[in-house]
């Protein structure tokens, strides 16, 4: 039986980035969510909303995009579910905070 040639080494990545270039608008909300979680620790959506001071729909969009990128997750062992950074999310948030502090 003939093996199909490997058709995709990085095509999925390129397509995905280029697709989003056409439809997404610049937004700093996901990064604000990440730095807030890094500074204040895990919290539920309501508390996060109060901390970052972002309208609910935009906060939810930001959270969903962070979750899809594997940078935050919901700990569902808690009743209302708290949002926490993943290991990679922690690394990224710390890089942002450290770099901003250095630049200030």
């Amino acid at each position: 039986m003939e093996n199909k040639p490997k058709s995709d080494d990085f095509g999925t990545f390129l397509e995905s980035v280029q697709r989003s270039e056409k439809r997404e608008t610049p937004s700093n909300i996901p990064m604000r969510i990440m730095t807030a979680l890094s500074r204040f620790g895990t919290m539920d959506l309501l508390k996060l909303m109060a901390v970052v001071d972002i309208p609910p729909t935009e906060l939810l969009e930001g959270f969903i995009s962070l979750q899809a990128a594997g940078l935050v997750r919901i700990d569902e062992s808690v009743k209302r579910g708290v949002i926490e950074l993943t290991v990679e999310g922690v690394q990224m948030a710390q890089t942002i905070i450290t770099s901003e502090e250095e630049q200030a």
Binding site: V17, L66, Q91
Partner: protein, 233 residues
């Protein structure tokens, strides 16, 4: 001699299961994941649990229906090795503490150990990573690199599943869309890439792509100007 081999083997099964678990958590730098004191302790606990299970099996003389002495011994080793790993990862019941559901069982102990391993490994890696990313991505333009550099790295890797490529693309989109300095964006790009492909591949890719990823210089160096084709040649 066989007895020593059996004890060694059962310990190795436990340690191997623990090692696979740790390596799967740190796919990009497996050697770093195993090279810390909490990780060594984690492997030791797994090995001791397997050895303990074999000890119990021997005390109660369970032969699992195998009558031939040698075969019975190795059956005990395999069942003790993997059985202990299953028991160690089990939770017997869940209790409510306030709003939180807490699983009670050996898995709780193992989770606490894994958190210690995570923290130990993260601390160790964070120090090195920060320095490496700053150095490797120092002169890299995010605008020039955010498509080319990951594509090149992924092509070198060859086998990154499409789901992981999608997730990685989402990270890059978040960084691209964020309102922050180009330098921080470059650092985050390097960090995200290093988590997927590891330090070696990132360094090699930046080295190979070299000048193509650097910001356009407003005043080209004399050496580069002399390389340029004369306008009316």
């Amino acid at each position: 001699m066989d007895a020593i081999l059996e004890w060694l083997a059962v310990g190795m099964i436990g340690a191997a299961v623990g090692a696979v678990e740790l390596i799967s958590r740190y796919k990009d730098e497996p050697d770093n994941a195993l090279n810390s004191w909490p990780a060594v302790f984690y492997l030791l606990i797994n090995a001791l649990a397997s050895a303990g299970a074999l000890g119990l099996i021997r005390v109660f003389n369970w032969d699992f229906g195998v009558s031939e002495a040698g075969a019975a011994g190795w059956t005990q080793v395999i069942l003790a090795g993997f059985g202990a790993m299953a028991i160690l990862r089990a939770s017997l019941f869940t209790v409510k503490v306030g709003a939180e559901s807490v699983p009670i069982g050996p898995s709780r102990f193992l989770e606490a150990l894994l958190i210690a391993v995570d923290q130990g490994v993260d601390r160790k890696r964070a120090q090195g990573r920060s320095a490496v990313v700053s150095k490797v991505m120092r002169d890299i333009s995010f605008e020039k690199a955010y498509l080319a550099l990951p594509s090149y790295c992924l092509a070198l890797m060859q086998n990154l599943p499409q789901a992981e490529q999608e997730q990685f693309a989402r990270k890059i989109n978040l960084i691209r869309n964020a309102k922050m300095s180009p330098r921080i964006k470059s650092l985050l790009l390097g960090l995200a890439l290093m988590n997927v492909v590891g330090e070696g591949v990132l360094k090699a890719a930046v080295e190979h792509l070299g000048e193509d990823l650097k910001p356009a210089s407003p005043n080209p160096s004399p050496a580069r100007r002399s390389d340029a084709r004369p306008p009316h040649a």
